[in-house]
Point group: C2
Chain length 415, copies 2
C-alpha cells in the first residue's frame, strides 16, 4: 500500500524526531532524548508530515514528486525562536561601541539610550521602512533554520506605535510562523517618567483592549524588574491581558531576584524569560506549574556578563527549558539560534541534545505551538532542516557558522 507524498527527505545519518511519545515539553533527562532514527527519512504532503521512519520503508511506501537526499547528514525539526524583538526602528551600534568602551547598559539607558532611544525612533519611522528591515531579519533567521519566531512589540510605548509594530510583525508573516506578543510594558516612556501610574493605566485600559480586539497578539508580556515594572504592577498588567484573552509571558529576574518566576507560576504564564537571577523557590514554582523557562544566553554574551542563568539547575529541577535569541538592537544583535545553542552549552553546561530540545520542542511550547511545530511527528507542520553535519553534536560544537543546508518550511523547499 503506498501513499503519494509531495516531498521525501531521505538518507538522514541522524533524523532527530524529538519525539518520545509524551505530550508537553521535555523535562529533566528527557531533554537528552532526541528520538533519533538512524538512516531515517520523512515524507511530506500538503505542508504536513505524513510519515517518519527508516529510509527504505519511507521510500517504498511514499513515492514522491521530489526527493532530497540528505547524504548521511543530520535532519531535524525547524528551529523555534520564542523570544525576539525583531521589529525595531534602527540598529544601535553606537551604544554597542559605548558599552565595549566601558559604559554599562544601565548607564546608557539612564542617559536616554536603550529602549527609550528605540521608542523615540519608533514613533518617527514609517511603516514601510520598518517592514523592510523586519522582513530582512526574519528572512535571515529563516536561512539560519528558524522556521517559527516570536516577535514582541515594546518599542512604541504609545498605543499607535505599539499597534504599528504588531501589524508589521503580522504583515511579514506569510503563514502563521510569527507569534506576536504585546509588550507595551517594556519600559516607562520619557513622557510618563513622573507619572508611571498613568502609563500603566494606558497599557491596561487602552492598549490591551485594542490589541485583543484587533487580534494583534497571542500573548501579553511585561519587563518585570524593580527599576522597570514591579511585581505588583506586572501582576495587574498580566491579569488584564489574561482577562482580555491573551496568554501571559514575563521578562523575569534578569537583573535581580524579584520573584518574577514565582509570579509567572502563580499566573499560569506560558513562559518566564531571562531568569539570570532566579531564586531556588522560583525554579521550584516554575517546575510545579510547568512554566517554560526561556533562556537567552546570547544576551549574556552580548552584554559581556560573567554570570549566566542557572540553566543546569533549572533542567535538573524539572523546569522545561527553552532557548531564544532575544534578537534586539540593544542587548542581543543576532538572529542566529545556532550560536545561541553553543553559548547555552558553554554558559549553562548543556549537552548538545539539551540545547537542541530547548531550541525546538520546548521552544514550541513556549509560544503555545507545541502541538504544531518543534518535533517531526505525523500531522505536524513540515518544518524541517537538513544540516551540513553528520552528527548532531557538531551543530553546537562547530560554532558561529550556518550549518543549515536546506530549509523546508510548510513542506516547501526555501533554500
Amino acid at each position: 500500500m503506498s501513499e503519494r507524498a509531495d516531498l521525501v527527505i531521505t538518507n538522514a545519518g541522524e533524523l532527530l524526531t524529538l519525539d518520545d511519545d509524551e505530550d508537553g515539553p521535555a523535562t529533566g533527562a528527557a531533554m537528552r532524548n532526541l528520538g533519533i532514527v538512524e538512516g531515517g527519512a520523512i515524507a511530506i504532503s500538503d505542508g504536513r508530515i505524513l510519515a517518519v521512519g527508516r529510509s527504505s520503508v519511507i521510500e517504498a511506501r511514499y513515492p514522491a514528486e521530489r526527493t532530497i537526499d540528505a547524504e548521511g547528514h543530520v535532519v531535524m525539526p525547524g528551529i523555534v525562536d520564542p523570544h525576539t524583538h525583531l521589529v525595531f526602528p534602527a540598529t544601535r551600534e553606537d551604544e554597542f561601541e559605548m558599552r565595549c568602551l566601558g559604559k554599562s547598559y544601565e548607564e546608557i539607558a539612564a542617559a536616554g539610550g536603550g529602549i527609550r532611544n528605540s521608542a523615540r525612533k519608533m514613533r518617527a519611522i514609517g511603516m514601510k521602512e520598518l517592514h523592510v528591515a523586519a522582513r530582512r531579519l526574519r528572512r535571515s533567521a529563516l536561512l539560519h533554520g528558524t522556521t517559527t519566531v516570536e516577535i514582541k512589540s515594546g518599542y512604541g510605548l504609545e498605543t499607535e506605535a505599539e499597534i504599528r509594530a504588531l501589524e508589521v510583525a503580522r504583515d511579514i508573516d506569510d503563514r502563521g510562523d510569527v507569534v506576536r506578543t504585546f509588550l507595551g510594558a517594556h519600559e516607562v516612556p520619557d513622557e510618563y517618567r513622573k507619572n508611571r501610574e498613568e502609563y500603566i493605566r494606558l497599557v491596561i485600559e487602552e492598549m490591551i483592549p485594542v490589541v485583543a480586539e484587533r487580534n494583534l497578539a497571542s500573548f501579553c508580556d511585561v519587563f518585570c524588574e524593580e527599576a522597570v515594572f514591579t511585581i505588583a504592577e506586572s501582576r495587574r498588567i498580566l491579569e488584564a491581558g489574561i482577562a482580555a484573552g491573551l496568554g501571559a509571558k514575563l521578562h523575569a529576574d534578569e537583573l535581580h531576584p524579584t520573584g518574577g518566576a514565582e509570579l509567572a507560576a502563580e499566573l499560569g504564564a506560558v513562559s518566564a524569560d531571562h531568569l539570570i537571577r532566579v531564586s531556588s523557590a522560583g525554579i521550584a514554582a516554575m517546575a510545579e506549574a510547568g512554566v517554560v523557562a526561556v533562556l537567552l544566553p546570547g544576551t549574556s554574551y552580548f552584554l559581556g556578563m560573567k554570570h549566566f542563568a542557572p540553566g543546569r539547575k533549572m533542567i535538573d529541577g524539572g523546569v522545561p527549558v527553552a532557548l531564544a535569541t532575544d534578537c534586539n538592537p540593544g542587548s542581543s544583535m543576532t538572529e542566529n539560534m545556532q550560536f545561541v545553542m553553543t553559548t547555552a552549552c558553554l554558559g549553562y553546561g548543556f549537552t548538545a541534545a539539551e540545547a537542541i530540545t530547548a531550541a525546538t520542542r520546548n521552544a514550541a511550547f513556549a509560544v503555545g505551538l507545541g502541538d504544531e511545530v518543534g518535533s517531526l511527528v505525523r500531522g505536524k507542520r513540515a518544518d524541517v532542516l537538513v544540516l551540513d553535519v553528520t552528527n548532531y553534536r557538531r551543530l553546537t560544537y562547530h560554532h558561529s557558522v550556518n550549518h543549515v543546508r536546506t530549509v523546508v518550511h510548510h513542506g516547501e523547499v526555501v533554500t
Copy 2:
C-alpha cells in the same frame, strides 16, 4: 588618460582602505584610523590593486571588463587569519561536551585527550582524508571573508606526520594564501613523556632541518608554557628555527605569565600569540621590539573563560595587535573571523575600527605579508570584500552571521 581594469568595485558607502601612509602595522590611536573613502571605488588589474579613490574618478579613469556595484555597502580588505591549526585529523565534539559538563581542558588533556588525542589520530589518517577536510574548512573561511590564512602543524608530533600536515597545508593553497608554520613543539607526545629532552632533540635536529630544507614552512612556533615547553626549551627550539631560516612565532603566556612575551621580543619574533596572562613587562618588551600580539578571543569564549587577554592595555601600550580564530578542534572550533572581531570588542573593549585593523592590516604583518595584503593600496594583492552592511560598525555589532556578500580573491570574484 584611461587605463583598462579587469574589475571595478564601485559605490562603496564606506571604502575601508586601512591606509594611513605609514609602513608597518598600526599601533595606538592609529588602529582607529580605517582610511575611509566615502563613496569609494577600487580598480583591479591582473589580480592587483590598480587604484583606489572616489567612485566617479575611478569609473571615469578605469573602464572595466566587469563592474560590481557595492550599492552603498562597506568594502574592505580581505581578512587575514594569522593563527589556525586547521589541518587536523578529526573533530573533537566529545571533548567539547565533556567540558560543557564540567571537566576542564587540562583534565581532558591529562586523561589523554586534547592535542595528544589529535596526534594519535593524525598518525593514522590518510593524506586524502586530511586534505578533503582541510580544504573544506579553508573554503568556508574564504566564504566568511578570510582571504589569507596561517596554518600550523603540531598534531603530528613525529617527523613524518608533521611533514604530512605541512604538505596538506601547502596543497590546499592554490596561490600563496596559506602561510605555513612548523609547530612540532606543540606538545610532548605520549612516547616521549618520560624523555622530553629526546623529543626536543628530535624537533631541533631532525624536524626543523627537513622542514627548512623542503621549504615546508615560513615560521617556527612553540607552545611555551611551564607544563609544555619551558622558556629555556622554547628559546633553544626557536633559535634552531631562526638558524635554519624560519621566522619565529610563540604561543606565549596563555595560562601563566612565564615570560613568553619577553622571549618573543628578545628573539625578534614576528608575533607572540594568546597572551592571556602577559605581564606589564612583556607588553613593554613587545611594544619596544614591534612584536605583533596575536589575540584569540574566540578561544576564551570556547573555553568558557571569564578572563580575557589585556587587549586594551596592549593597544594603549603601543603593541601592534592582531586577531585570529585559533581554529582547532579542541579549543576553538570556528573559522569565522567576524565572530572573533565581535568577541574582541566585548572581551577586550576594542572599538569596531580597532577590531577591523587587527583582523586585516595588523594580521598581515603577523604573518610576514604586510607588504602584500591587509590594506587596499595600489600594487597590493586584490583581496577585497563587499559586505552587506552600510557602516563598518555593524560588522562587529550584528554578530554570528556572515556579512560577506562578495569575496574578490586575487582579483577574481569567488562569490
